[in-house]
Each structure stands twice: as C-alpha cells, then as structure tokens.
C-alpha cells in the first residue's frame, strides 16, 4: 500500500489527556494536516492544528437581522402599501403590534441559517469517511480517541509518521486507506 493509497496514519488512545499530549507532540514535529476524533469535545484539540475560530456566530447574526427586517417589512408592506384596511380604527402602521412577529422571524431565520452553516462548514452529511474503514474507529463514538495524520501533509511518510505515532504509546497505530 503506497502513500498515495493512504488517507493517513491513525493512532488510537483511550484518554483525552493522552490524545492531547499526542497532538501537541505531533504538532511539535511540524505536522499540520492532522485530525483528532473524540467521543466528546476535548478542549484545545482543534486549536493545536491551527483551527482558531469559526464563522458560525456571524451566520446566526446575519440570519437574525435578515429575518427580523424581513418580518417587519412584510407587515408594514401589507398594512400600509398593499392592503391599507381600517382595523378597529388602528393606524395603518401599528408598529407595536408588529413587534412579536418581527422577533419570531428573527429567531427563526437566525436558527435556520446558523445550523445550516454548521452542517455545511462541517461538510456534513458525510456518511462515508476514510476513518470509518477502521473497525476500531467504531469506538471513537464510545471511549476511544483517534489522532490521524493525513497523507496530504508535506512531512508525511509511512515509516517516519508511524514511528512517531508509535512513540506516543497509543493502543494501536493503524493505516487509514483512502
């Protein structure tokens, strides 16, 4: 199996502390193209490989503003421009009465855009992923922690990388086919 046929080289750990330590070492050795897989969020892991910040909040904000503005505009347009009807003698633009819907629309659109953004940025849905080929990876959703150095990393070489990983005392070191 040549490095082209490889997705990467993975190491399996059984504690968050271990994988944190391992990740730091790998990074110190100059690897960038590495991913970590944990059964629950482990603080600081992502940052190690230079994933500093996410744009998710911006999407929420944008969606919220759009929803709220659109919501109010719809009501204003309907009652002032398109269908100016006399409702109990209330003014056409009775903006206080338009607030609830404006608010709800804001919430709704914020939630929809935000979550959609999260899914899209995470490249989901992705039923197939190289890691799933490892039988051991089943426990990544239970009690195992995986570190995978991708073959796309400039420094990647089957031997060196494997040695490095072995040196981290993982439960196992596994090759991840492409």
């Amino acid at each position: 199996m040549s490095s082209e046929t490889l997705y990467g080289m993975a190491a399996e750990f059984d504690t968050p502390e271990a994988i944190l330590e391992a990740a730091r070492v790998v990074r110190r050795y100059g690897y960038r193209e590495a991913r970590t897989y944990t059964p629950f969020p482990v603080g600081g892991l992502a940052e190690i490989f230079g994933f500093e910040r996410t744009w998710i909040p911006a999407f929420f904000l944008a969606g919220g503003i759009f929803g709220a503005a659109g919501g109010f505009f719809m009501q204003w347009f309907a009652n002032v421009v398109h269908l100016p009807w006399d409702i109990g003698g209330k003014p056409m633009n009775s903006w206080p009465a338009f607030i609830p819907i404006t608010f709800e629309m804001g919430i709704l659109f914020a939630a929809l855009t935000g979550v959609t953004a999260m899914i899209v940025l995470n490249r989901l849905p992705q039923p197939f992923h190289a890691m799933f080929q490892l039988p051991a990876f089943e426990r990544a959703s239970r009690d195992r922690f995986f570190l995978c150095i991708k073959s796309t990393d400039p420094q990647f070489s089957r031997e060196k990388t494997a040695d490095l990983l072995k040196s981290l005392h993982p439960l196992a070191v596994l090759e991840v086919p492409r």
């Binding site: 009807w85 849905p125 039923p127 197939f128 089943e138």
Partner: protein, 219 residues
Amino acid sequence: MPRLFHRRMNVIARASLLAIPILAATAGGVAWHVQTTSYVTSQDITMEQPVPFSHKHHVGELGIDCRYCHTSVTDSSFAGLPPTKTCMTCHSQIWTNAAMLQPVRDSWRTGVPLQWQRVHNLPEYVYFDHSIHVAKGVGCATCHGQVDEMPLMFQAKSLEMSWCLECHRHPEEYLRPREEVFNLHYQSPPDQLKVGRELAERYHVRSAQALTDCYTCHR
C-alpha cells in the same frame, strides 16, 4: 457484513438534503400557478350552448347594441338575459327554419325557457352590480373583452378577486367617458391617467379606500 456506507452516499445524502428546500419551493410555485390557470378561473373556456349564438355575428357584423338584449344593464345589478321573445322578434322573420334555431322556436312554441350555459359566473358571496359600473364609465369590453369577436361567448378575464381589485384600487386606469361605455372599439387615450382622474372626479367615483371596502362587493 460491511459496516460502511459507499462513497457515493456522500453525494446522495447531500443532494437529498439540498432537494428538500428545492422541492418545497417548486411545490409552492406550482400551487400558485394552478390558482391562476383557466382550470380554476375557467377563463378563455368556450362552453357548449343549446344554441350556438354568435356575438361576433350579431354584435360585430350586424352591429346590434348590447342593450338590445341585455336590457337591464343600465338599471339593475343583473344585465339581463334576453327572453326567447327577443330572439323571435327577428327570427320569426329571418332564418325561420334554420335547424340551429330549432331550440329557440321550440322554446317559443312550448313556453319552456332556453337553458343557457352560464359563462360569467361569480361566487354567490360576490354581489356585482352592472348598472353602477356602466353609470360610472366602465366599458363592457373592460371586463367582457372583445365580445364582438367571439363566435361563442367565453370568459375573457380571470374574474379573480385580485383582478377586480386592480380596477377598484386604480379606477383612473380604466375609466372611460360614459358615452363610450358600449363602444367595443374604444381606445384609451395616451394620457389615460389624466383623463381617468378627471372622469373619476366628474362621475363621483369614490376613493380607492371606499371601493376596496369588503361591503362594496361582499354582504
């Protein structure tokens, strides 16, 4: 067993997710379109009539005035449907034994009225009054189209509420001088808006607000 999804599943999964909003939008679009098709509005549908009466011939070619048959159009909500007698005024003299007029003669002989297929048909909760529209300068053709070119009568406009509101919201765009109401070939002047406003003024056409009150048409 292989506990692994095929690579292709990635594409399929994403595509199917993407399809949900697209399908929804399409369904909405279709639904909206259907509302406006003649299947719903029965616009432009020519109906089978007991007697193939041709407005094209009688109005366009012979030039009979609308009011000759639709007598009550100027003073009643109902424009009026000619009694068999009206047909017989001429057809007791001409085409006295044309086959297509047999039903008319039968009706006249037996006293059993002709049963026409209704063409312009509003829901019962809509109360339309011909006389006031005629009185305020709404031409026949504005709603009924070029009747003088219809061999068999059909509904020229959608008769949807939004269609009515176009005029009730902007009457000035459609008004014409009262003497032109029954003129099927009236061409609205280039400065229709200006003329329309003057006419609206002269004919005491009420404000758009008033014309769009629910009680104007619904009771």
